[in-house]
């Protein structure tokens, strides 16, 4: 599953929090999430819920809104299958990317050397 930049940033934060508990759950406030998003990612406060909903639809986690007795909103997040394997998927996709780059470089080098060989033979 391909995630956007904002979704990836949010998923990173949630995964780091939820993976610490045994059952993949965490209780987090909107402020907590927003403060941990890297400065490089343009993320508006209004986009938080929308991004969370997208990740819920992609089956990364289950998110329930809850309120404290004082009225503060909290998100109760439980990782689902895609969420639990998020880190592994990230590593796999990175490995795939590196492999693809190496393959591309190798093919380019092979093509160049083949061109040079052909030049030497017929040139």
């Amino acid at each position: 599953m391909v995630l956007g930049k904002k979704e990836k940033a949010l998923m990173n934060i949630i995964y780091n929090k939820a993976s610490r508990s045994q059952n993949g759950q965490c209780l987090v406030s909107p402020l907590d999430l927003l403060t941990k998003i890297p400065y490089g990612v343009e993320f508006k406060e209004t986009e938080l819920e929308e991004t969370l909903n997208q990740l819920v639809l992609d089956n990364y986690f289950d998110c329930s809104k809850a309120k404290t007795p004082s009225g503060d909103i909290m998100y109760c997040i439980t990782l689902k299958d895609n969420g639990i394997s998020f880190l592994r998927d990230k590593r796999v996709s990175r490995r795939k990317l590196i492999l693809r780059i190496i393959t591309t470089i190798l093919i380019a080098a092979l093509s160049f050397s083949l061109k040079e060989i052909l030049n030497l033979i017929f040139g």
Binding site: S21, Q25, C26, L27, S64, K65, A66, K67, T68, P69, D72, M74, C76, T78
Partner: protein
């Protein structure tokens, strides 16, 4: 098996959650609102029992916090218990008022005859004097009248 404390905890949770929204609450906060002395472990057991009985759903739980969702059954039972508690308080207040009224009446019954007696005594002495004066006046008048009549008759028929 759910006991009185469990229903009390259910009532506290129901009163904390507004409009049936999920509730994030500290375990200490719940413990501070219960009259009975229970430990965190006992609270955990009670909350689990409430979940087993389909009154609550534990969305999240750690050492210090719960995220709970109150189920319709739990809400209904909490509402019923609240009404029963209110009725019991109203009945107790009514009974207390009735007892107070009864005590007041008893006190009145004890004090009123004395006052009446006192008043009666006072009245009796005053009435006696008046009666005595009236009787004396009337009898002296009648005695004088009879004596005058006799004297008159004696002088007429002499």
């Amino acid at each position: 098996m759910l006991d009185k404390t469990a229903y009390k905890i259910l009532g506290i949770i129901a009163s904390m959650s507004t409009d049936g929204e999920n509730l994030v609450v500290n375990k200490d906060e719940i413990l501070s609102l219960i009259d009975a002395e229970i430990t965190v472990e006992e609270l955990d057991k009670i909350i689990s029992a409430l979940e087993v009985n389909d009154m609550l759903k534990i969305l999240f739980s750690d050492a210090a916090t719960y995220c709970l969702s109150i189920r319709p059954k739990g809400k209904l039972i909490a509402e019923k218990n609240k009404i029963a508690e209110e009725n019991a308080i109203a009945a107790a207040e009514e009974e207390r008022a009735a007892v107070l009224e009864r005590q007041r009446r008893q006190q009145l019954a004890l004090t009123e005859p004395l006052e009446e007696e006192k008043e009666g005594k006072e009245n009796l002495t005053t009435i006696d004097v008046r009666k005595f004066a009236v009787i004396c006046a009337v009898s002296s008048f009648l005695g004088g009248f009879v004596a005058a009549m006799i004297t008159f008759l004696v002088t007429v028929f002499k």
